[in-house]
């Protein structure tokens, strides 16, 4: 039976704002996922899941809240009866269009909320703008407070640019002062429609490590329970006797369905990548193909084999493989031009830097000892 980890569903490619670094190339497309596509998702995907599967099902890859609540009520009515009890529905939003009706729906449906906020106002407003070019931070923060007042505590995703890394105290203060307890740091990546990254010119790994280490130190010193996802994920691996699970390199651990029914797997970002050799990573269409046809498609098999080769390169050549599991295929494709490749900026900034920051932090607290000398709270990692 099929036990996916992550299902990304795109109600619409359209987004109501226009961030400078957005990787979504079709964000002007106002197409809406049709009832027929929702029916096919139910019949061909959800019905194939094991009863004990526990996927996260995320409305994403456009701005989901521009779609009326009534559309989701209809979709949930169709999908819920065949959804495993351990599944979690979530929505990833920019927070612009969160209304009272949306808050009521989110509470009633038990849908979790991920919210994109790039930290303090000057960092957020520098790039997250309306389609008219005006800043969005004030409106997003107002809606964050409405959600919090409604008993919903969003998980925040913050996209960092190079200049962000020199202001860790400001970022930490922002999360603490706004009662944000769970944050995930993405990086400004050259991926999809975003062709360049602020990290292209220089290696940002040391700066990213220092940024994360400083935030950990500040939060720990003040007793503010800030969960940084990239670091908590690695901490969990180091404390459990389990292999690193990288769902982006495991066939059909991830499935993403676009509004038009196109299906991809591995990296959800594949929806946005163009590669004629891989049919733009479209492994079929849910309206036309059943699950077995998607799994059996030649383009899927070839993609899976190329990803496997890339993972083996990571396994033999990277000291962080134990906490990574083989990198991000979409980043390998975007940055290296091949799935059969190794290190990317994502590896350095989103895996290696958090791992180093965690080890440095634990060494600084005396929980781990590196080499023959114990490290005090002010020391840095030395081998």
């Amino acid at each position: 039976m099929w036990r996916p980890r992550l299902i990304v569903l795109q109600p619409t490619p359209y987004c109501n704002i226009n961030c400078d670094y957005c990787y979504l190339g079709n964000r002007d497309d106002r197409r809406l996922m049709t009832p027929a596509v929702v029916d096919a998702i139910r019949d061909k995907l959800f019905a194939r899941m094991a009863a004990d599967a526990s996927p996260r099902i995320v409305w994403h890859a456009g701005e989901p809240t521009v779609v009326p609540v009534a559309w989701y009520e209809s979709a949930y009515e169709k999908l819920r009866p065949v959804t495993p009890s351990g599944a979690v529905f979530a929505v990833q939003t920019n927070g612009i269009a969160i209304s009272a009706a949306w808050i009521e729906f989110l509470r009633r449906s038990g849908t979790q909320v991920g919210m994109s906020i790039d930290g303090p106002q000057r960092f957020h407003d520098a790039r997250r703008k309306t389609r008219a070019g005006t800043p969005t931070w004030a409106l997003v923060m107002e809606n964050l407070r409405k959600l919090q007042s409604g008993g919903i505590r969003p998980n925040v995703i913050t996209v960092l640019h190079r200049e962000s890394l020199f202001a860790p105290d400001d970022f930490y203060g922002f999360y603490r002062d706004n009662d944000i307890g769970h944050v995930s740091f993405s990086i400004d990546e050259a991926n999809g429609a975003n062709g360049a990254s602020s990290f292209d010119a220089a290696d940002g790994k040391a700066a990213m490590t220092a940024f994360l280490r400083r935030i950990l130190d500040l939060a720990f010193a003040e007793g503010y329970r800030l969960h940084i996802r990239e670091i908590e994920r690695i901490a969990q691996l180091l404390t459990e006797d389990i292999a690193s699970h990288n769902e982006q390199v495991q066939p059909w651990d991830v499935v993403a369905v676009a509004a038009n029914g196109n299906v991809t797997s591995f990296s959800p970002d594949f929806m946005e990548l163009r590669s004629p050799d891989h049919n733009d990573f479209c492994f079929g269409n849910i309206l036309e193909n059943d699950f077995d046809e998607l799994v059996g498609s030649e383009i899927f098999k070839r993609t899976a084999e190329e990803i496997r080769v890339g993972v083996e390169l990571c396994r033999t050549g990277c000291g962080y493989f134990g906490v990574c599991g083989g990198g991000s295929p979409s980043n390998k494709m975007s940055e290296n031009g091949s799935l059969k490749s190794g290190e990317t900026q994502f590896c350095k900034l989103s895996i290696q830097a958090p791992a180093d920051a965690l080890v440095e932090f634990l060494a600084g607290q005396g929980a781990v000892q590196i080499g023959s000398k114990a490290l005090n709270t002010n020391s840095t990692l030395q081998s």
Partner: protein
């Protein structure tokens, strides 16, 4: 059992990272000693640091059962998933 402890910490909103750091201050604290930082970057390398820590949880009684832990894990979905855009 270990998973139960971890889940207990998480349910009390204590980042696991902080629990590991606090373990160093506990009586008879365990320390992971390695020659090189890379030795830590593998599954289970810090198992010995995780313990019910009164300083963290304020709770001497209990661990969460494996069953409860598993349910909690399911409820979290891919909270500690690899893809970072959700």
């Amino acid at each position: 059992m270990l998973r139960g402890i971890i889940e207990m910490l998480d349910m009390k909103a204590v980042p696991l990272t902080f629990a590991l750091a606090l373990s160093a201050a506990a009586p008879n604290a365990a320390t992971a000693a390695v020659g090189d930082p890379s030795e830590l970057l593998r599954s289970g390398s810090l198992r010995n640091l995780v313990r019910p820590n009164e300083a963290v949880t304020g709770d001497k009684s209990g661990e969460v059962s494996d069953d409860q832990g598993a349910k909690r894990q399911m409820a979290q979905g891919c909270w500690y998933g690899y893809w970072r855009r959700c």
